[in-house]
């Protein structure tokens, strides 16, 4: 295709966007909003995932043993716990070790634990690691039922909350994005529809003169792509700056929790969002052309 022809396409595209500037603005805004929310959930998901992975590593089940459990019974228990699917490792912690740990935790106040050696009230325990957070729910009731087990403690609540949170973020972002994506495709196709109608006469004249279908279609597709691209870039700009700012504020004010560094997250957004906007825009105008531009 000639450069001259492309010049013509680009000129027509820009003219058309300017002519329908209000609709164009609306299209750009919805695309930007869609991708912005997409980006928001993406950053949120990245952070929740990161956070979840960190917490997952810390998840363990603690099974306390009754005092009357013999060494033989203890070994048997250890063996049967290991056989439960999902269990990765089992470590035994004796009464003495438990006391030692307790002392360590007390630190300066270790005097409180003085004299406990004679009649150590702390139970021996197994510390069980599982392969994934979901396994906790399956493993810990099985251990609780075993002979000689006093009590099972797990981070069930915490685990469940995290799993739920991750799920909610994933599902709601998917649903919301689907809705917003549909709206932006609809708005883009509507904008293109207006352009097609505004240029109906021109299109019919073009056909008489012998313009090919694609010669007629290209300016409309370019228009959709351009609107989508601008929307994507706006969203990327807002997300990048917003996230970088949020990460800085959180780092300065909340010590225990930090966001995944902006460098890892938002640097990819520029091209990802541009591509996404282009796709939304291209698809929107493609629908419209198929429906309204019978060439």
């Amino acid at each position: 295709m000639r450069i001259n022809t492309w010049k013509y396409y680009i000129k027509e595209t820009i003219k058309s966007i300017y002519r329908n500037r209000l609709m164009s603005l609306a299209s750009i805004t919805t695309v930007a909003a869609t991708i912005f929310i997409f980006g928001l959930f993406m950053t949120l998901a990245i952070n929740v995932n990161r956070f979840a992975t960190n917490v997952e590593d810390m998840i363990e089940i603690k099974a306390f043993l009754k005092d009357d459990v013999t060494t033989l019974q203890q070994q048997k228990l250890e063996k049967s716990i290991k056989e439960i699917p999902g269990v990765v490792s089992v470590d035994y912690e004796s009464k003495e070790k438990a006391l030692e740990k307790f002392r360590e935790q007390l630190g300066e106040n270790k005097d409180i634990a003085k004299g406990l050696e004679e009649s150590n009230p702390l139970p021996a325990s197994f510390i069980i690691k599982v392969d994934k957070p979901e396994s906790v729910e399956l493993v810990s009731p099985k251990i609780a039922q075993m002979e000689g087990i006093l009590k099972v403690k797990d981070g069930k609540r915490t685990v469940q909350t995290i799993i739920k949170l991750v799920r909610i973020v994933r599902y709601s972002s998917t649903v919301l994005m689907a809705i917003l994506g549909t709206i932006s495709i609809f708005l883009i196709s509507n904008t293109i529809k207006l352009t097609v109608f505004a240029r109906k006469r021109e299109i019919s004249i073009m056909k008489y003169i012998g313009a090919t279908d694609w010669f007629i279609k290209w300016p409309f597709i370019l228009e959709g792509i351009l609107l989508g691209l601008i929307g994507g870039l706006i969203a990327a700009f807002i997300i990048e700056n917003g996230y970088t700012y949020a990460a800085k504020i959180i780092q300065q004010n909340i010590v225990v929790f930090t966001l995944v560094p902006p460098k890892e997250v938002v640097k990819q957004f520029w091209w990802q969002f541009s591509l996404l906007g282009t796709l939304i825009g291209g698809f929107g105008s493609f629908i419209s052309i198929r429906k309204f531009l019978v060439v």
């Binding site: 006469r201 073009m206 008489y208 003169i209 012998g210 313009a211 090919t212 010669f215």
Partner: protein, 228 residues
């Protein structure tokens, strides 16, 4: 150049627009197509422009049966035609120059060719001086000249005119007719649908008359023959 063989056209509402039409137009001819409203004149033009398809029959233009053209080939076929309408069909937001240039852009002509050819054609139709004007700043006759310039800028072999003087006063109509006659004399075949009795009678060209979808008269150096 143009050959219609047993062409019939029945519209969806069962209206028979053409029944078994046969005629032959040679290269370089100037032919008037006359007849009352609804006789089938427009149907013939639409068939030639590939706007509609015949129900049966063959239409041969430049040795090609255009009824067998594929969709993709239609634009390239249309480039061999120039079309002039009663209502000019100019683009209001483009200047005279741009309207003519547009036809060359569509066929993806080079910038150099456009720059050379457009002024040439504008000179020929006598609108070189008004090339920067917009259609609404021109008289009807001038607008039709722009339309003619646009129709011939890509050197079509056949010029199809659908009542080109229908919206013009008699003097202007005569000027437009003279211009089209000039174009014909330089080798372009012309097929014109018209109701302009005086002009047809004066031009003494071939006249094909059609009534109710049937050719009723085909005479060389003919006359209009109707009283409207």
């Amino acid at each position: 150049m143009i050959e219609l063989k047993n062409v019939s056209k029945v519209y969806k509402n069962n209206h028979i627009a053409l029944s078994n039409v046969n005629f032959n137009i040679n290269k370089g001819e100037f032919v008037f197509l006359v007849g009352p409203s609804g006789a089938g004149k427009s149907t013939i033009l639409k068939l030639l422009m590939k706007e509609i398809e015949p129900t049966s029959g063959e239409i041969i233009v430049n040795n090609v049966d255009i009824t067998k053209l594929k969709r993709k080939e239609i634009p390239y076929y249309r480039r061999t035609l120039g079309v002039v309408f009663q209502d000019f069909r100019l683009l209001p937001d483009k200047t005279v120059y741009e309207n003519v240039e547009f036809a060359m852009q569509i066929v993806e002509a080079s910038h150099r060719d456009i720059k050379k050819r457009v002024p040439q054609v504008l000179e020929m139709v006598g609108l070189y001086a008004k090339q920067r004007n917009y259609p609404h700043q021109l008289s009807g006759g001038e607008q039709q000249r722009v339309a003619i310039a646009r129709a011939i800028v890509n050197n079509p072999k056949l010029l199809i005119c659908d009542e080109p003087t229908g919206n013009l006063d008699p003097d202007t109509a005569q000027e437009i007719m003279a211009l089209i006659d000039d174009i014909n004399k330089s080798g372009t075949t012309v097929l014109m649908v018209t109701h302009a009795k005086d002009l047809v009678d004066k031009m003494k060209k071939r006249v094909i008359a059609i009534e109710k979808g049937v050719i009723v008269r085909d005479q060389q150096r003919g006359v209009y023959g109707y009283e409207d």
